[in-house]
Structures are given as C-alpha cells and as structure tokens.
Symmetry: C2
Subunit: 311 residues, 2 copies
C-alpha cells in the first residue's frame, strides 16, 4: 500500500460519500484528561463507515463483472452499505441475510435496492447461500472486512481525520472484523508524523486481543456483547496489518460500553452505536496512557434500534 493508492481510493469514492465532521466536547476532554476528536462516521451515508469500503470495492471490479452484480453475507451495516454503494454505482447487490434478521434491517437493504436472500442463521448456510448466488448470477463476492479494497476504503476515515488534525498522537479504532483498524493502519503509515493506533474491543468478543498475543487468528470464545458490529473475527488479509501497526488492544466490559455510549449521547447529543462506544471506554479505562495526548476516536456508526436501548 502506498500513499498513492490511498489517495486514488479517496478520489474514487469521494463523489459517493460524505466527508464527515470531527466533533469535540470540553466536558469529555475534562473527564478523560486528554483532547478527544470524534470522527463522526455515524453521519456517513447509511449511518456507518462501511459505505466507504463497499464503494471502493465495487469500483475496482472490471465492467463485465459489475454487470453481473455483487454479493455478500451480512446482517449488519455492510449489508446496507453494499446495497447503497451498488445502487449509487448502478450495480445489482445480492445480500444473504439470516432469516432471523430484524425486519427493519431487511427493509433498509431493500430500500437501498439490495436483493435479499434469506438463509438459516449459521455461518455455513450464509456461505453456502452466497456461493450459490455467485454460481447462478456470476456476481462477485465482497467480504465485509477481509478484502484489500474494502480495507483501503475504510482507511479514508483516518485519512480525513489526519488531514484535518495532522498532529494527532493516537487513533483509537474499534476492532470487529478488522477492516476499519486495518485501513487506519494504512492511513497512519501514509502520514508523515508518527501516530499510534490502539484497538478497542469487547471483552466478550476479544478475538483480536488474543490473536495478537498468540500470533495467529483466534476465534471468539463468546460473542455475548451489545456491540453487535464487533462480533466478527479477523481475516488473513487484515491480521498481518494489525500485527504490524497496532500498539495494543484494550478490552472493554459490557457495562463500560453502555456507560460510554450514554456519555456520548448525553454530552455530545449524537447517536452512536455501542460498537464505537468502546473507543471512548478505552480512553477512560486507561487514562494514564492517554493523559494529555491528542486522541482521535473513530465513531464508526449510528445505526441503533431505538426500541431496544440499554438505558
């Protein structure tokens, strides 16, 4: 990955994404003892950063493949992201979703022009259904996080943040499937000043923490977390990046996630997902490490079911 590639990616997707704002809170700075910069991808199109990687991945396909469409399996933000990105680019998206996915998520995908294929809620069935679609339609499979173009696209979040605030000391990224933190490492490596990358993940889904320790990709032992975007595991494309560029991963308890989410809602008046509340929680948990630093927090998304809030 060179700076040129990241620049090319950003130029390519720019017409299809929002450049999201960076927000601050004096109160949260005082509470944290450092200067926090919230990069607000909750204001991104479809409500999450995943729009970036999905868009870039589709634009990298040759035209004859675009004509046959794209397929993925996801019940989360990537399902909506690939649908909206495909719609923006005039491509058909096929989305394999578990049959127990919430109505509202299925409706969102359909609303963005995605064609939903329901399957039994196991990873085997999801993969089998996606493979069947590929065989029947010739659509290209795009993985939500373990795909080089997707990772590069997600890197534009930190790229924009560093363009706005080049003197950041640290960026804290949530760790789920590894796409966002992987892209963040690419952006930091392209930046002239040294910036540390810290991961934050639920203690209840600490595969990345353990993977860094063991040196190989570990599975989650539990995924009993409110941070539903962080239940996925790393992949062979993003794991080497993470090994190379992540200083450490902070594990966050469930109560800390909810408290941190509530703090952001109450003090900043913005709606953020539990999956990105782990970033502020990591700073509050390890105050000494972050003391006095300029810290960018990647607020990955704002898609929350308001009928099922934890407070």
């Amino acid at each position: 990955m060179t700076t040129d590639q990241l620049n090319h990616c950003h130029d390519t997707i720019r017409p299809h994404i929002h450049r999201t704002p960076v927000l601050f809170s004096t109160q949260l700075n005082e509470l944290a003892g450092c200067i926090l910069m919230f990069k607000c991808e909750n204001f991104q199109k479809m409500g999450a950063f995943k729009m970036r990687g999905a868009t870039y991945a589709i634009t990298q396909l040759p035209e004859e493949l675009c004509n046959k469409g794209v397929v993925t399996h996801s019940s989360g933000n990537f399902a909506q992201a690939l649908s909206l990105a495909a719609q923006s680019l005039g491509v058909q998206a096929y989305i394999v979703m578990p049959e127990n996915a919430p109505e509202v998520k299925i409706a969102a995908v359909t609303g963005y022009g995605g064609q939903v294929i329901l399957c039994a809620p196991t990873m085997e069935q999801r993969e089998a259904s996606a493979l069947k679609i590929q065989q029947e339609t010739g659509a290209t499979f795009i993985h939500p996080s373990n795909d080089a173009a997707v990772i590069t696209g997600q890197g534009t979040v930190a790229k924009e943040l560093l363009e706005d605030y080049p003197d950041l000391d640290i960026i804290v990224s949530p760790v789920g499937g590894g796409g966002l933190i992987g892209g963040t490492i690419l952006a930091v490596e392209a930046h002239p000043k040294k910036v540390q990358v810290i991961g934050a993940e639920p203690a209840e889904a600490d595969d990345a923490y353990r993977s860094l320790l063991s040196g190989k990709i570990e599975k989650n032992r539990t995924t009993n977390t409110i941070a539903d975007g962080l239940k996925t595991m790393l992949g062979d494309i993003n794991f080497p990046l993470i090994q190379r560029g992540v200083q450490k991963i902070v594990r966050i308890e469930e109560k800390e996630i909810v408290d941190s989410m509530r703090l952001i809602w109450e003090r900043m008046k913005i709606i953020v997902e539990p999956s990105c509340a782990v970033t502020l929680a990591a700073v509050l948990k390890e105050k000494e490490f972050f003391a006095g630093k300029k810290v960018g927090l990647l607020i990955s998304g704002g898609n929350v079911d308001l009928s099922k809030l934890p407070f």
Copy 2:
C-alpha cells in the same frame, strides 16, 4: 429593535456561545418535499439556545447589579443556561426550582455554579421565592422568555441561520414562552429578504395559537405534553412581536411529536428534545404549504432524560 442592536448582542455574546452547525438530511428532504435546514442548538453550550439570551441579559446589567447576582425560577433549560452564563461572566446565579424537580436537573444547575433554592411546586411559590431572593440579596430577576434582552439573545439563532443561508423562505420555530420565536422575528425583520416565520406548538399546550386568534394572551388549558419546554405561556413583551411577525402557528399532536423526534434521531443521528421535534412535525403535517420551499427548522435543544424515552 434595529439591526445594530441585534449585531451588538451577537458580538457581545459570541465569546460565550458556540456558533452551532446547520445540518441536512437528503432522506428527510425527500420525505418532506422541501429543503430542510436544521439549526442545531442541541449542540449549544448546556445543550440549548437558552444560553444565548441568558448571557445577553446578564451582560446588559450595570456592574453594581452584576455584583449582586441574578435570579430566575425555572426547572428547565433556562435554569442551567442562567447558571452557566453567570458562571462564564463571573456573576452569582440563584435558581428557584420546584422541590419535585428531577435530581439530574438540580445537579446540572449546581454543576454550573448556580445556587438552588427549592420551593413548593406552584407558580405562586416560585414567584414568591424568587422575590424573597431579590429582597435578600439584591439580585436582579431575569425572566426566561419575557425579557427584551433575553428575546434579542435568542434572535441570534435565526441571525446565524440567515447568515449561513440568506435565501431561506421560511423559518419554523417552536413556541413555548415566546422568547425564541420572538427573537426569530427580530432576526427576520433585520434580514433583507422576506422570510416567513411559522410557529409550532403542541395541541396540548396551544396557548399561543389561541392567543393569536383572540388577540390577547391566553393561558394553557392543558399542559399534558411530552414537549416540556413548551408548557409555558406568552408574555406582554414577546406577544406583540408574535402578533406582528408570525404567519401562523401549527398545532401538533403528541404522537406526531414522538414520531418526528424519532425520525430526527434515526435519520440524522442527533439527539433532539421533543420540544423542537414539533418543527419537523409541522412541516410534515402541512406539506402543501412548505412544498419546494427552503425551510429552516430551529432545533432548540437536546436535553433529554435517556431513562425516560417515549420509544
């Protein structure tokens, strides 16, 4: 009121307030059939526009009165606003609050340096307690909405909006005590292009609607509304302004307030109070009137008890 006065006010309070952003939503534009510009005072200091008027009112006092402090009665945003504004300006604030006010609101006032005086929860007791404070301390009483300086201060919300978007056709303001909509009229009158001012208030607290009809200040018949900032009635200073400058007032049902608030939360990922959700509800209720227009919505605040959400 001249343009000079409004400019003087804005220059005076500028160091103590945020210039809040104006946000948009393509999805809500499509739903409403017009172009909506959300002036986000939920991002104002202490979470509401009331910071503006409170600050300006204090700055207009002579120094010997400032030294004796300021007093108001409020259990809402003005209590916090006067406390924080006084703190910013090095003045003591005395806040009379009903003894059944939520702990969190009392704590917020105290946190901003306000001295809380509890009293029985009737308007008579509130006024008597405030009078007693005035007599004992020499503090100056500042009314939350029926005060010329407060009204001028609130006018800087629409002034900023019109500076950013001078070609607006309509501004929709919530109507509670009349301070915000009164100030909005001053800002519109100082603007070179004709801009209509529309009020929005709960049908359950429709004193302003009936006052405009009858030509005199009417009391609320009920205040059984979730929009707790809009239960107050108009005053003799702002009512003539409202008679002069408001085209009409749209009355909003409780379900419409909640639906509109939820729409803003879900689509825009920002936290807004029920009291300002009436503005979007008014547009959705009278779509033909607003069709194709450029419409500014005054999002007055974002102070919501997350433990008591209506969804």
